[in-house]
Symmetry: C2
Subunit: 382 residues, 2 copies
């Protein structure tokens, strides 16, 4: 039995994702593919274009055999925590052989070389990093120079979000002592940051923009038809600007010192939020105002989301929630249930924060009839 | 020295209000008129058409000498609590001679006769009321029949909101042992519930509707020009529908049992809210769904506002907050400050709930630049 895992957002599912699935089947001869997927909010801290149940259907219809939900607190965290949550969950399934991911750098020796140093952070590395930073080098440059003392690593490796995630996946595997084999796939065509659909392989960002602009031919070019149909059947999309009012209200009902207790939100960012929120007229503008050299847009989006969700503790992996399974692959669910060393849930998640996040998402869509969808939506079988 | 008080919402200030001021000056020969006015939310539990600072300007420009703010928790409560808050505050100024109010019934013997019974609720009255209710009579009919044992009171007296408020004012005066003299003015022309402007005296309801429909000639007909100019200078009006999202969010972050602690919200209404909110698509629709024979629309609006403001305790009168004063009448402010037996504030209110309500109002107007207006707005002098 050969089982491969994918960490994904499928926001939305496109031809690049299908290419990865086909490559796994061809090159790894995998019997099953399991995806661990973000729920209703992306790692960027923004609502996904369609909810997790629809995105599960997209994945299952294109060859993923089983979809596990990555809990919200991991799914909307930094690359390190995001990767730790995903890999730890996959590790506890006790059935995964390979981990497949797309990145610009597909040389496993380079990726694992860096991950190995970062997973241990030997004193020599730390000292070098510190001294380079003292010399006034930027963090990425200092880190690269410090790392290069342990191997020959091209400078551009650490400059793409996909490579950074890949390194974090491998780092987490090292730290868990897992024997899951990393399997990088080189992303050939479309860049993560591309905002236009150039060919049949496009970035999810470009596809979301195409959808909002009603550019159907672009979407048709770069998405599997089933996936596109599921997207087109959706009546309302989340309006991130509603978060503006909710955040204001949250700031009105919460005392400032309570915000210092929100997990992984720097105190300086809380102060900046307090100084700026009353001068902003939209959520996007507020995020712009808070974005700085110190805090990236994603850090700001994620921090505001954590404030909205009232997350006060770092996340831990305590269960495996299955969102859906291909009917043909139902034996995989049975295998997972018998092998996993954590509870396998096919119903609502344990975490009240995840249930809250699902409801918050539907509020942004103005779909109050989908309140408590985590309770009402049964396991998706396709 | 003769000082007359008015309890008002001025939502907005119109010719009927001016008529009352002129009548006080002519008939009572008052030296000064003090108005105690609701803040940014009306007794109906809805946002006022313009904020309290603009409404203070309207009142001062038309002959009111000094405006006191009725704290939010009183201002958005039932007639009994609303009246108790207003009269208690006026009582503690220790400078008021008369209380003038408009109502359909201007026979003081009738009003004070009823108020006297209701302020004491003698055992005989209570027993009669109970027995009439047991007989299956409606509450208003049973109350009227029980009251008639103590005097000859026409049945229609208790059927108008203005008469009910008038009785509550007198009842509060009785209970405080105050020697402020009630001075009812008969409302001749426009009915409280009228939704159209028929003449130069129109209801505030009719004027708000005229304003939202852009019927300028109607507004010109029934409002003093200064008052109209102040209204027309306002750029954004509150959108009550924003409360829909805030309420949903509040329900997502609050546990049901905590809502049982909200002051003066019946447990049944909380349950009904929980059962209905996820099926509603607008605030107004939700209010409709919760309105019943037991709970009037105003009760529902006020209850939801209390939930949004997180009010857990009944209000008490602890200070007198002056919103504005006519420059010519600045000696009145000095007199008030020396005579009152409660602190007189010309700055932000003591109550954090009042500050919250002011901010909530500006959020509904999308005026984040008016955040913390209670701190930044200085005493209005006209």
């Amino acid at each position: 039995m050969n089982i491969t895992a994918i960490v994904a957002e499928y926001n939305p599912f496109h031809n690049g994702h299908l290419y990865q699935i086909n490559k796994i089947k061809r090159d790894l001869k995998s019997d099953y593919i399991i995806a661990i997927m973000s729920g209703n909010f992306s790692q960027r801290g923004t609502p996904c274009i369609v909810d997790k149940f629809i995105r599960t259907k997209m994945a299952l219809s294109q060859g993923v055999d089983l979809v596990i939900e990555l809990p919200i607190t991991f799914a909307t965290a930094s690359a390190e925590t995001f990767a730790r949550g995903a890999i730890t969950t996959l590790y506890h399934t006790r059935i995964i052989d390979n981990l497949c991911f797309g990145c610009e750098e597909d040389n496993l020796l380079v990726l694992s070389g860096i991950a190995s140093v970062l997973s241990k952070e030997p004193p020599e590395y730390k000292a070098l990093l510190k001294s380079y930073l003292k010399m006034g080098l930027s963090y990425p440059t200092a880190r690269h120079k410090a790392l290069n003392n342990f191997g020959e690593f091209p400078q551009e490796v650490l400059s793409s979000p996909n490579n950074i995630l890949a390194i974090e996946y491998i780092k987490a595997l090292y730290q868990l002592g897992s024997n899951i084999t990393p399997f990088p796939i080189k992303r050939e065509v479309s860049n993560f940051h591309d905002t236009h659909v150039h060919s049949s392989i496009a970035s999810a960002t470009a596809l979301r923009i195409a959808m909002l602009n009603g550019e159907k031919s672009d979407m048709k070019l770069a998405m599997p038809s089933t996936s596109l149909k599921l997207l087109e059947a959706v009546e309302t999309f989340p309006d991130i600007e509603k978060l503006f009012y909710l955040l204001h209200y949250q700031l009105l009902i919460t005392k400032k010192h309570e915000l210092y207790n929100i997990w992984d939100v720097p105190e300086k960012l809380v102060n900046s939020l307090y100084n700026n929120f009353s001068n902003s007229t939209s959520y996007t503008q507020l995020v712009d105002m808070l974005t700085s050299k110190t805090y990236t847009r994603s850090t700001v989006y994620r921090s505001l989301l954590r404030i909205l969700l009232g997350i006060t503790a770092p996340p831990t992996v305590t269960y495996i929630r299955v969102l859906g399974c291909r009917q043909k692959s139902i034996r995989l669910l049975s295998l997972l249930s018998s092998k996993a060393d954590l509870p396998v849930l096919t119903s609502k998640p344990y975490s009240s924060t995840d249930i809250f996040a699902t409801n918050l998402y539907q509020l942004l869509r103005s779909s109050p009839n989908l309140y408590n969808q985590d309770y009402t939506q049964s396991l998706i079988l396709i």
